[in-house]
Amino acid sequence: MECEKVGDGALQGDKLDVLYGEADAAVRERVLAHLESCAACREEMGALRALRRDLGSWRLPLARPGLTPRGYVLPRWLLAAALFLLAFAGTLGASGYLSLRRALAAQESRAALLERQQLASERALEAALARPPVADAEAFLARLDARIDERLLARASLQEQRFDQRLADWQERAAVRRRVDMAQVAASLSYLDGRHGEQLARTNELMGYVLQASDKR
């Protein structure tokens, strides 16, 4: 049996609208009216509905990779290799982790010590700052000046004593030297004594002047 409107494109479109729920009320009423009277179309619509249910059996795979990294599926061999490497790295890293922990503990201990020292310094500084200021600053400065003057005077006195001592030493050495020179002159005059009578007398006179001048000086 075949529908007398088998070539009616508009009817086909209307049937599809009804089939997919896009028909408005007028179209739906018209199609249903036709189906009432047309067994071929009624059978066709039933078959199409059944077909749609069959088509629904083709579903997408459950594990679908997405555009984002969360959806990527690794090949099994790559996954296995990754797991192996992960386990290997974990074994190697375990010992390293322990030593790292020890080093970290030592570092923490050292940091705590430094912190305590820092804290103590801060407290000492705070205590010093909290101390009352000097009551009489001028008196303190005067005492300080007096001490400085005292030290300066003591040092000047010491230097003076040393100078006097050096001067006395020098005078003594000069006197000794003069006596030696005079003795040598006298010895020379004695040598010439018998040889130049009158000349010697003048020389003696002259030397007498020299000695007097030397004593005066």
Binding site: E43, L51, R64
Partner: protein
Amino acid sequence: MGRSDEELVEACQAGEASAFDVLLARWEDRIRGAAFRFLGSEDEARDVAQEAFLKAYRGLSGFKQQARFSSWLYQIATNLCRDRLRRRKTRPLVSLEALEEAGPVIAETRAGAHERLIERDLARVVRGAIEALPLEQREVVILKEYQELTFLEIAQALDVPVSTVKTRLYRGLDQLRLRLEDQGVRGTTAVPVPAP
């Protein structure tokens, strides 16, 4: 209530790049699903979806919203799938001939065999029948049956009149019905008996 596609498109055009992330999250699965049904390959479907969104992002500034964003997106993805199918120069991954060589899904002709047909086998037959359709009919069937686009949206996506969409769909469904019947599938529910 989230923003509509149109609002998100306007936001993208105004420079709010994060709005496209929302569009991506909203349509990624559907576009990839459609591409998978067109191409039969998850890897290719993922690539197509990625490429489609990239093209959409690049072309978003020139998108006038005369059609819905989803229709435009499907149009891009459909064109990408067509290109790939042309490059393949072969028939779809699972041909109807291959299915026929494997024998009818329903073994024997005894009564009740259809009830024992496991859904997986039915899905395999359905998939083979759809992939054996001409490309134009296959596109319409997939967009209508699995992507649940309206006739107008399909017409916009394929850039053809609505009447053409309906004609292709009608022929495609008819072809499918015949092919499934050839495979021993006569619908999961009883076909109405014609009135005497």
